[in-house]
């Protein structure tokens, strides 16, 4: 993501959208929800791109983060903003249970994570004393007033999630730039080559899993305080896995901007168009898009567009850069 693009993105998200849509609770809420998906998509892409790990289990991190934060604020009086961080930490801790799966190669890791996500979902339903069971938790505290700004409004919540997404992007950017990022990038196709020069491959993967879980968990926590309600089927819903994967694949998961733009586009189109055309089962189109993208262009829409618009010479470079 270059500077011009980042600046344009920041201006649109921080200035244009709040001032044009700020009064419309429905629309600003919609964009905020899209940003929730975007944040998870970035976290998913971080793990997929820099860790080389495809996860079908991010719903688990989302759910654990949500419940951690909700329970801490409701039962232990922890301030909401602190609880958002705790939600992330909770998700990271839950990811520790998944670490044995890091020994497994690609597809087996994906399947193991899917199984873990199911286990967490069942546990959430069963642990009624903590999660309220299938009945759910009601009246989770809203985001508070802080430095004179009421973050409990739809617009306030939008600003908070926007900040969270920007923080995840900045973190991703710096990890990618670091020597860790270089080593992780290389591990993708040449793990032996990296290990033989001393890269502790498993340790790096563990770090990426922790970071990705933290990001997803704190976003789950934000969501809990944004909608003030939780039940296991919702918090651990497969949607929290499906949407981000579609967004990241659609936008190109090996880029920084891809997952964010993909999420904004996918979520808004899904809610505004697909949902109105077919009120039930509109995720069908998401599934079809996912399948289509994997066949046509697994590295996202960007390479297709570049192919059409860029002069032929530059194609190779554009694909190689994964910018």
């Amino acid at each position: 993501m270059n500077i011009k693009f980042s600046a344009a993105f920041a201006i649109v998200m921080y200035l244009v959208i709040p001032f044009t849509l700020g009064d419309n609770n429905y629309l600003i809420g919609l964009v905020a929800s899209a940003l929730i998906i975007a944040g998870i998509a970035v976290a998913w892409a971080l793990l997929g791109n820099l860790g080389g790990m495809v996860s079908f289990g991010h719903a688990a991190f989302f759910g654990v983060g949500a419940y951690t934060s909700a329970v801490l604020t409701m039962d232990h009086g922890v301030p909401v903003f602190v609880a958002l961080v705790m939600g992330g930490i909770g998700a990271s801790i839950s990811s520790i249970f998944m670490m044995p799966a890091l020994r497994l190669r690609g597809p087996y890791f994906a399947l193991a994570i899917l199984a873990y996500a199911e286990i967490f979902k069942i546990l959430a339903v069963e642990a009624t004393s903590i999660t309220g069971g299938a009945g759910g938790l009601l009246s989770i505290p809203t985001l508070p007033v802080f430095m004179g700004i009421d973050f409990g409004t739809k617009l306030g919540g939008y600003i908070v999630i926007l900040n969270i997404v920007c923080l995840t992007l900045i973190t991703y950017h710096f990890i990618r730039k670091s020597t860790y990022g270089l080593a992780l990038k290389a591990m993708h196709d040449s793990e032996m080559a990296t290990r033989i020069v001393g890269v502790p491959a498993t340790y790096l993967k563990i770090v990426m899993l922790l970071v990705s879980a933290f990001m997803t968990g704190s976003i789950g926590a934000f969501n809990a305080h944004y909608i003030n309600f939780l039940e296991p089927d919702y918090a651990f819903s497969g949607s929290w896995t499906i949407f981000p994967i579609v967004a990241a694949i659609f936008g190109g998961y090996r880029t920084l901007s891809g997952p964010v733009l993909g999420a904004l586009f996918i979520y808004l189109v899904d809610q505004l168009v697909f949902k109105s055309v077919m009120p039930q089962g509109h995720q069908l189109i998401l599934g079809a898009m996912l399948a289509g993208m994997i066949i046509l262009s697994p590295s996202g829409l960007l390479p297709i567009l570049t192919k059409f618009f860029a002069p032929k010479k530059n194609i190779k470079k554009a694909e190689g850069q994964h910018a």
């Binding site: 497994l104 286990i119 069908l284």
Partner: protein, 289 residues
């Protein structure tokens, strides 16, 4: 003691049925190294076809098999065609692709049949059967078990004694060698997907008569199928039966001594333990590393 015997018996019957659900996934994985994450949805599709025919025409669900098979075979072959279009990193990308197709199927079923829960109208299937004076089961469970064992046995025979079956086996064990011997791997793969479709259709109709169906069931079936396949050691047919019975028994015991909602948790935990301790499964030769 009686309680345990009953739990083991129920588990055994469930195991035969689970084997039927899982074996199509195991077969395709064996030949193509593709884990079809839409497999459970294919099973569910057959179940819905049985429901549709029964509710529209009053047809006995068992008689809907030919139509269910036809539809599911076509769906399986479409899935095969699409996975074959993947250009790079097929092992991983096919997971995402079939995951997407599973979403398509689930939501397609949701659109057509709504989120309501259905089960067969015929009470004949629900009637009790008692074996050895004390072991109780529903007639449908018995049928599903017998069909499952028969299908697995038939498949095992087919793989070992027919030309197509042997072609599939040789392609699974060594693709390049099979090619050199004049076999067409794509044809063998096509056959394995077709047969997986037949098995999924059988499993789906059995699902409809033994249990209740609604759209999210497909996803759980997929998970159950790959849990069993991994337990079995990818691609081993006898292993599938043993893995399936193991899962069935674990679920039976958990349901009897704890509660039914924990059954899935127990089997999932066993799955993870096996995956981590023996990545190549209980009967597998090749490792996951």
């Amino acid at each position: 003691m009686e309680l345990t015997a009953q739990a083991l018996f129920t588990g055994l019957l469930m195991g035969g049925f689970y084997g039927l659900i899982a074996v199509g996934l195991a077969l395709v994985f064996g030949t193509m190294k593709v884990i079809n994450l839409a497999h459970g949805e294919l099973v569910l599709l057959a179940a819905y076809i049985a429901y549709a025919l029964e509710s529209q025409t009053g047809l006995n669900p068992m008689l809907s098999l030919p139509i269910a098979m036809a539809v599911v075979i076509v769906a399986a072959l479409v899935t095969f065609y699409l996975t074959n279009q993947i250009k790079k990193d097929r092992e991983l990308n096919s997971l995402i692709l079939t995951f997407g197709l599973g979403i398509v199927l689930t939501n397609g079923l949701l659109m057509v049949f709504s989120a309501d829960i259905y089960s067969t109208q015929s009470s004949w299937f629900m009637e009790g059967v008692v074996i050895a004076d004390s072991l109780f089961s529903m007639r449908s469970e018995m049928i599903a078990f017998i069909v499952g064992i028969a299908a697995l046995g038939g498949l095992y025979w087919w793989l070992n004694h027919t030309w197509h079956g042997r072609a599939i086996r040789s392609v699974s064990s060594n693709r390049d060698a099979a090619k050199l011997m004049g076999m067409n791997p794509t044809k063998a793969e096509l056959w394995s997907w077709g047969v997986a479709g037949v098995l999924a259709a059988l499993a789906g109709v059995m699902l409809y008569v033994t249990s209740v169906i609604h759209p999210p069931v497909g996803h759980s079936l997929t998970i159950k199928a790959f849990v069993i396949t991994v337990l079995a050691g990818m691609g081993s047919i006898p292993g599938v039966l043993v893995g399936a019975i193991m899962i069935g028994v674990i679920e039976g015991l958990t349901t009897t001594y704890f509660q039914s909602s924990l059954a899935e948790l127990a089997s999932m935990t066993v799955f993870l333990l096996v995956l981590l301790v023996m990545p190549s499964g209980l009967f597998g030769k090749k490792g996951a590393h």
